[in-house]
């Protein structure tokens, strides 16, 4: 039997963007009291890794960079069934943009690979707080891994040949890609459903000592490439856009048909070409 897969899933603890408010007076983001969650896209990456482990054997290590409180996110991932959790935490890492983040994560992933080589690095498609989708590709570039972005399914892994086949969502269709391991995969949303951990998983997660690595432990070579220092991106201003004052129109009518016709009227007035589209489709039907 071939050996199992050594997988690392990079996750990020983010503020729950659905509950973020902008202070009406100062126009700054109010972070107080906003719950933190695991970046939702990362959960698809986690489940993809757990499913591969179930099929092929191996281990799933979750990795995050953040303040000590980010250990909550790791503990949660352990509760879903991940095997190992590593928190990358150091004041030198603070204020990192995507360039500096991918640098630090790369160092940590290399460190994980020192004992057993890493076969697949997983990340989510992007984060909901930064929305850049840069960290995954950044890691792939630094580690010179084959890069598979927007992956929707992993139908096959050939351990003997060291090859992986994935479905990649592209504009207008699905690409079926085959490449050599090791690779980096960024998972697309809504591609799987994260499992609930068992009671033993939950108890293990709560009891786990989260491994915490500082820059030195992670084997970071150039501290100048980390955190604020290593980040060329600067946020110059945060503001709330003016809400647009557009009123909803009420569709009136005595019967359902009258309402439907009235709605059609409103739509075709707004876009005269629409009537031709509807005519074509009706003819086709």
């Amino acid at each position: 039997m071939s050996q199992g897969l050594n997988m690392v899933v990079c996750i990020k603890q983010v503020p729950d963007s659905a509950q973020i408010r902008v202070h009406p007076v100062t126009n700054t983001i109010m972070r107080q009291g906003v719950p933190t969650i695991i970046n939702p896209y990362d959960l698809y990456a986690l489940e993809a890794a757990l499913a591969l482990r179930d099929k092929m054997g191996g281990t799933v290590t979750v990795l995050t960079m953040g303040p000590p409180m980010a250990s909550t996110a790791l503990r949660k991932a352990l509760g879903h069934g991940a095997d190992r959790a590593i928190l990358l935490s150091d004041r030198f890492f603070a204020g990192a943009d995507t360039l500096a983040t991918s640098y630090a994560l790369t160092a940590a992933i290399r460190k994980v690979g020192e004992t057993t080589p890493v076969d697949i690095v997983f990340t989510g498609k992007q984060t909901i707080d930064g929305d850049t989708a840069q960290v995954g590709p950044g890691i792939a570039r630094r580690m010179e891994l084959n890069q598979l972005t927007y992956v929707s399914a992993i139908p096959a892994i050939d351990r003997e040949a060291g090859e992986i086949t994935v479905h990649r969502r592209a504009e207008g269709g699905v690409q079926v890609l085959k490449t050599k391991l090791p690779c980096l995969i960024t998972m697309l949303e809504a591609t799987n459903e994260l499992r609930r951990g068992s009671m033993p998983d939950m108890l293990r997660a709560e009891r786990a000592d989260i491994e915490t690595w500082n820059a030195e432990a992670a084997g970071v070579e150039d501290i100048g490439k980390c955190g604020m220092k290593g980040s060329p991106t600067k946020v110059s201003k945060v503001f709330a856009p003016q809400p647009r004052a557009e009123k909803a129109a009420m569709i009136e009518g005595d019967t359902a048909q009258a309402k439907a016709l009235s709605a059609l009227d409103v739509l075709t007035t707004a876009d005269p070409k629409l009537i031709q589209v509807i005519a074509r489709q009706t003819a086709a039907a």
Partner: protein, 435 residues
Amino acid sequence: MTQREHFDAIVVGAGPAGNSAALTMAREGLNVLQIERGEYPGAKNVQGAILYADALEKLIPDFRDSAPLERHVIEQRMWMLDDESFVGTNYRSDRFNEQRPNRYTIIRAQFDKWFSGKVKEAGALVICETTVTGLLRDKRGRVIGVATDRDQGEVTADVVVLADGVNALVGSRAGLRKELTPRDVALGVKETIFMPREVIDARFNLKGKEGVVIEAAGSVTAGMAGTAFLYTNGESVSIGVGCLISDFAESEVRPYYLLERFKAHPAIAPLIEGGEVKEYAAHMLPEGGYNAIPQLYGDGWVVAGDAAQMLNAIHREGSNLAMTSGRIAGETIAAAKAKGKPMTASTLKAYKRALDDSFLMKDLKKYRRLPKVLHDNKHFFTDYPRLLTHAAETMLRVDGVAKRDKEKAVMGSFRSERGLRGLASDVLKMSRAWR
């Protein structure tokens, strides 16, 4: 069969009662597992919310150093409302600006997370997003653990503390208690309305961390037994209204309609004007009082907090009773454990005895007649607020009518509404219920 883990105690629920029990037992060295169904402790918990310092001080004496507290209460307003006016009393005192204030407003989602942190520090194992679906029993019917909605989800323990909140589903399903009746439960709805700190300070005449509490009764509940409230937080106000479920069912009035009415009241509207509704919540409150308290202990189990109907509706106290009952449950179990006693009903009876000796049962017993009196005499919520506000208006309006004639008119209005016999009986009922 998979191996089930065993604990000294399992606590169901991570609200004030569960946290207090888990904290107390974990500190005494017991191996405690606490199970919460919400995403995090506090995710499902709703309260006004006023924190009474005393009950928490008995658990965490220095809580003021780290707990997320909004404002300490320096003023209490009690209002009787009709549709246009209110008559009421205020008590405001600089003495409440003390080193260790007595009451605080809090935001439960934040407070409960902090509280749970203390439970974890004490060594209890806390798992969330896990629902207890039933109790495990041995052949003799003794409770020996819980079943949950997770794979391999059974865990065993010497004793289970049921602190699963007002619905008390675990105990009801297991047949340890009767199901709730609509007359024993109130439904409260509440909004958190965001306003800048300076606006709140100016509108309520506050500075620093000072806060105000308004409790109101009268026409706002549309003839039902219930009250409304407004509490000031740091950068928001909590505003809500609650009535008995049986009254809501009978009147078919929707709870949010009452809340909208309260918010639109001419005495309330200017206080919240321009605020942004940030949160909407609804929750049930166990308001059955002393007579609705279920069996509190048995072989291998005790029940605490809302699940045990520990709420003083008259004085708006609930979380402190939850903390107190949770703490006493924890102390009872820890003491029994230290003596090596089995967790049988005869051992756990000490929990009930300790509760009976505390302010908690004494207070609940004192008002045991009130739920029924208020339920059967809705005119306390309709006629009296109107009579009192009209009386105040009559006396205060200067219009050339002699004061003696005004007094006669006021007395006349009371007599014609309630009748002499009615007035006398109301006084009697209230004084008996209050005794």
